[in-house]
């Protein structure tokens, strides 16, 4: 079992607390992504797991062994850094061999290991090159190769793709996912990019202000966010959030009544935040849908889809619509429709998700 368990982990710098007692269990071979805005404590948490930051309080166990006071080299973890952390004076082969030489692995074994990993990562032709002579994607692959050759129990990734351009990022994302499937090593991955989180993770941990907001599979988090923060963080574009008041049959936003499932007389008058995913709307009326008037001010074509920017009862909103190869018909849109089952509600004060049906 090469799982990683964090129990009530706290990190303080002097009197300033940056991680407020987080609990997380990462199962063996699982790919967990820590995601959140800058300063939310995700990198600090990863660095505590790596042993680069001291744990102020709580317990960290890897493979069932408490690691709080164990030196980084003895934790059997390998880390891939945001800026690659490649040694500029060493060539690709020597960069990858660095950790193995430190551990005094026999030369022949080092060579075999490096050749194997270089073949997996497509680096065989670049083994003699220095980092300065490589492209961003190749450097990132070398950084991963350096981690892989060690055969660690846990891979730690600290925003490894954020220095790459969009196209390369998509390509490398797929490579990381394939690599994880092939190697099956427990991986913890930090990013602020929710697309990376959604595409890579078995489970996503959404963090905010040093606390975990929600843990779940990408689709769980997308469909059932526990609060407005998670709802606003995941999804591209994020969920539209507008203030409303509960009625007998639904929720009233300005002069518009939107039907919801589970509306009851007991909750009438309650202030709520209405969450509408941009993807969850249609241009035509369907069963159990409500009409949402929209004053359109911009149509952004994305190819098969388009983003409709506009205002709904004074609130800025963005929705997605299919183009069917043409956006001409979208410029005249004045209302869209949302199914009652897809409307999300959050408490107006706490921002926590409401489930009126239960």
């Amino acid at each position: 079992m090469s799982g990683v368990d964090l129990t009530n982990i706290v990190k303080k710098y002097g009197s300033f607390q940056v991680v407020h007692g987080i609990d997380l269990m990462v199962a063996e071979k699982e790919f967990v992504v820590l995601v959140g805005p800058s300063g939310c404590g995700k990198s600090t948490t990863l660095r505590m797991i790596a042993g680069l930051e001291e744990i102020t309080d709580g317990d960290l166990t890897i493979d069932g062994r408490r690691m709080n006071r164990i030196a980084p080299k003895d934790r059997d973890v390998a880390m891939v850094f945001q800026n690659y952390a490649l040694y500029p004076h060493l060539n690709v082969a020597d960069n990858m061999a660095f950790g193995l030489r430190i551990r005094k692995m026999p030369k022949a074994e080092i060579k075999t290991t490096i050749d194997d990993v270089a073949a997996i990562l497509g680096l065989t032709d670049y083994l003699d090159r220095r980092p300065a002579d490589l492209s961003g994607g190749q450097r990132q692959r070398v950084a991963m190769g350096r981690a892989i050759v060690r055969h660690p129990k846990v891979f730690l990734f600290d925003e490894p793709l954020s220095n790459l351009d969009a196209k390369l990022r998509t390509q490398m994302r797929a490579e990381i996912k394939r690599l994880h499937k092939r190697l099956g090593v427990t991986s913890i991955y930090v990013t602020h990019d929710q697309v990376e989180a959604m595409t890579l993770a078995d489970r996503i941990v959404v963090m905010n202000d040093g606390r975990i907001e929600q843990i779940g599979t990408p689709m769980e988090l997308f469909n059932n966010p526990v609060n407005t923060f998670v709802a606003g963080f995941l999804g591209s574009p994020p969920m539209n959030q507008v203030k409303g008041t509960l009625t007998h049959t639904g929720v009233k936003v300005g002069n518009t009544e939107i039907k919801i499932d589970g509306a009851s007389a007991t909750q009438v008058g309650r202030q709520v935040v209405v969450g509408l995913r941009p993807e969850h709307v249609t241009l035509s009326v369907k069963e159990n849908t409500s009409a949402i008037p929209i004053v359109l001010d911009l149509v952004e074509p994305l190819g098969s889809e388009a983003l409709l920017h506009g205002r709904f009862e004074g609130n800025e909103v963005v929705f997605k619509a299919e183009t069917n190869g043409d956006i001409g018909h979208l410029s005249g849109v004045t209302e869209i429709h949302v199914a009652s089952s897809l409307v999300k509600l959050f408490d107006g004060e706490t921002g926590q998700a409401l489930n009126l049906g239960s």
């Binding site: 973890v77 390998a78 880390m79 850094f81 500029p88 060493l90 660095f98 950790g99 430190i102 060690r150």
Partner: protein
């Protein structure tokens, strides 16, 4: 033909635009250009006296040309050859012992984790740089005095007879080089400390995760990372190789130590200023400059070829 003219006009126009846009930067550069012109380029006019039978009364222009006669005199002179030998010996020894010291100091400072101790240690080793050469010489003379010097007092405790360090030729070089290191090593380490500060911290973090010790990180990360700076400093140092700190030598040496202490610059000083043989001194100075030029060019070329780092 008209194309060439248009090209050169275009270039002039671009240059004019450039000056108009960046004139503030050139104003900042001006004092340095003036300094170079007045103190380094204008005196070059006087270099011609190395090839003339110069007389202060006839002036530079009216003095007759005599070709390489002064150089022949120099190379026939035992004193000059001794000065040349001493210059090389002192320079090479200073380079071997003096050049690595600031690097070692910088690496040591980098390993100190206690900030108060680090700052205190840095201040202590930087201080001698700000002391004038004459005071340094005074300290050296006092420290090595056979009667009250701390060195001989210490030797006395060990039952060793007092040594007259400053009149024995064999002791001159170690004392001169040692005092030079004591005075400058700390201050020179600032450049290397700055280079170390520029090393990407995640290289160390990555090495920590890989299991490297502090010693291994110093050898395998810090030193190779600051190697370009070391090479640049080495090239500059080689360029100044023959510029032995002659002020300190003038104050410290005496006829009994000329055998090991007299260098080209002190020779020039004695011949030119004290002996009024300006033409001979100019020839010695020119020879010094040509050798320095060859050395710096060679060092730069070798460095460019083998380490991808060079001054230009």
């Amino acid at each position: 033909m008209s194309n060439q003219k248009a090209n050169s006009n275009g270039r002039l126009l671009r240059l004019y635009d450039h000056f108009k846009r960046e004139w503030q930067i050139y104003i900042l550069l001006l004092p340095m250009i003036i300094w170079f012109a007045v103190f380094l380029y204008k005196p070059m006019y006087g270099l011609q006296i190395a090839f003339k039978d110069y007389s202060i009364f006839r002036g530079i222009a009216a003095s007759p040309w005599i070709g390489f006669e002064h150089f022949q005199t120099l190379f026939g002179s035992d004193q000059f050859m001794r000065a040349l030998r001493n210059t090389f010996m002192i320079s090479m020894l200073s380079l071997c012992f003096g050049f690595p010291m600031p690097i070692i100091l910088a690496l040591m400072f980098n390993e100190i984790t206690n900030q108060i101790f680090k700052r205190t240690a840095q201040t202590v080793v930087y201080l001698p740089h700000f002391i004038s050469t004459v005071i340094i010489a005074g300290i050296v003379i006092t420290a090595f005095s056979p009667t009250a010097g701390i060195v001989n007092t210490f030797l006395g405790w060990l039952g060793i007879e007092p040594i007259y360090f400053l009149i024995k030729p064999e002791w001159f070089r170690p004392i001169f080089i040692g005092s030079g290191i004591w005075q400058e090593a700390g201050f020179s380490s600032i450049v290397f400390l700055a280079a170390i500060a520029g090393v990407n911290p995640s290289l160390y973090e990555s090495a920590v995760v890989d299991g490297a010790s502090r010693w291994q990180m110093m050898w395998k990360i810090t030193l190779p990372s600051i190697l370009p700076t070391i090479i640049i400093m080495l090239i500059i140092r080689i360029g100044n190789l023959l510029e032995v700190g002659f002020e300190l030598i003038i104050v410290l040496y005496q006829p009994s130590t000329y055998e090991t202490a007299d260098v080209i610059n002190t020779y020039i000083y004695r011949q030119g200023v004290q002996g009024a043989q300006y033409d001979l001194a100019a020839a010695a100075g020119l020879f010094n400059a040509v050798i320095a030029f060859v050395l710096v060019m060679t060092a730069n070329t070798i460095s460019k070829r083998y380490s991808r780092t060079s001054l230009w």
